[in-house]
């Protein structure tokens, strides 16, 4: 358990522009947003890539469960940083694309949006909480 707000980091053999395109065009989003467990119909993706604009998509899980996801762009700095909020959950996601040799290092940070949690200190706090949990579980105090 690394226990901070970091969700994912990946080195990709592609230019920043290509990764940016994947994140900001309907075809790109449809190609990967569902991950391994859902598909995103390309026609369902709408993108209005500017601060205050939305992107939205449908997901279809193999079991038939479908849902529409909606996100609102907070800031757009092509091809390096994209910040968007998910209004239903209040989650803020920051996608950072950094050139790294002949590829990029892509980082996706997610954090919850309640104002009191929008601080670096709160992120550190989450780390310390999860460390506390880890310590507790290792000591087996509850098991």
């Amino acid at each position: 358990m690394s226990g901070d707000e970091l969700i994912a980091r990946r080195r990709l053999a592609a230019s920043p522009e290509r990764v940016w395109t994947a994140f900001t065009t309907p075809a790109g989003i449809a190609a990967f947003w569902g991950g391994a467990h859902a598909t995103v119909p390309p026609g369902s993706v709408v993108v209005d890539c500017r601060p205050g604009g939305e992107f939205a998509l449908d997901t279809r899980a193999p079991g038939g469960a479908a849902g529409r996801l909606r996100f609102v762009y907070v800031s757009v700095a092509a091809p390096h940083e994209l910040v968007f909020d998910e209004p239903v959950t209040g989650i803020r996601t920051t996608v950072t694309i950094r050139p790294d040799g002949d590829g990029v290092e892509l980082t996706v940070h997610q954090r919850r949006l309640p104002p009191e949690l929008r601080t670096a200190r709160a992120a550190d706090g989450l780390a310390s909480i999860l460390e506390a949990l880890d310590l507790h579980l290792r000591q087996g105090a509850d098991r």
Binding site: M1, G3, L6, I7, A8, R10, L12, A13, A14, R18, V19, A22, G28, A31, F32, W33, G34, G35, A36, H37, A38, T59, A61, G67, L69, E86, V88, T89, I91, L106, V108, Q110, R112, P114, E116, L117, R121, A122, G125, L126, S128, I129, L130, E131, A132, L133, L135, H136, L137, Q139, A141, D142
Partner: protein, 115 residues
């Protein structure tokens, strides 16, 4: 496993909000090492026992801490299973993005071959 950003359980909101406070996080860290009374919890802080009681109350109301009666003292105990709910939620988010980035990598690979 969630592939979408499933809303967290509503009752997690109170727990996340409670943990936004550094004193309460320190209390949770202390309680992870074992039970403690409010008096014991107050020792490392430049805070009154009343202030610590207030923070313990917030942690109790969101279910992260429980207090039992032991004669005249009321030791506080961490409810680790509640913390686990928070970490499970975070882990689900992390897994969803791991999956998604696998798919992105395949997409970029396909794209490169096609050119």
């Amino acid at each position: 496993m969630t592939t979408s950003l499933a809303p967290p359980e509503p009752d997690l909101d109170a727990a996340f909000a409670a943990l936004a406070d550094p004193v309460r996080r320190a209390l949770v860290s202390r309680l992870a090492r074992g039970e403690a009374t409010v008096k014991q919890l107050a020792e490392p802080f430049a805070l009154t026992q009343q202030a610590i009681s207030h923070h313990v109350g917030v942690l109790r109301r969101c279910g992260l801490v429980e207090q039992r009666r032991d004669g005249t003292s009321r030791p506080c105990r961490l409810r680790a299973e509640r913390l686990e709910l928070l970490s499970t939620w975070i882990d689900d988010q992390r897994r969803a993005w791991g999956d998604r980035l696998d798919a992105l990598e395949r997409h970029l690979g396909d794209d490169g071959t096609a050119r």
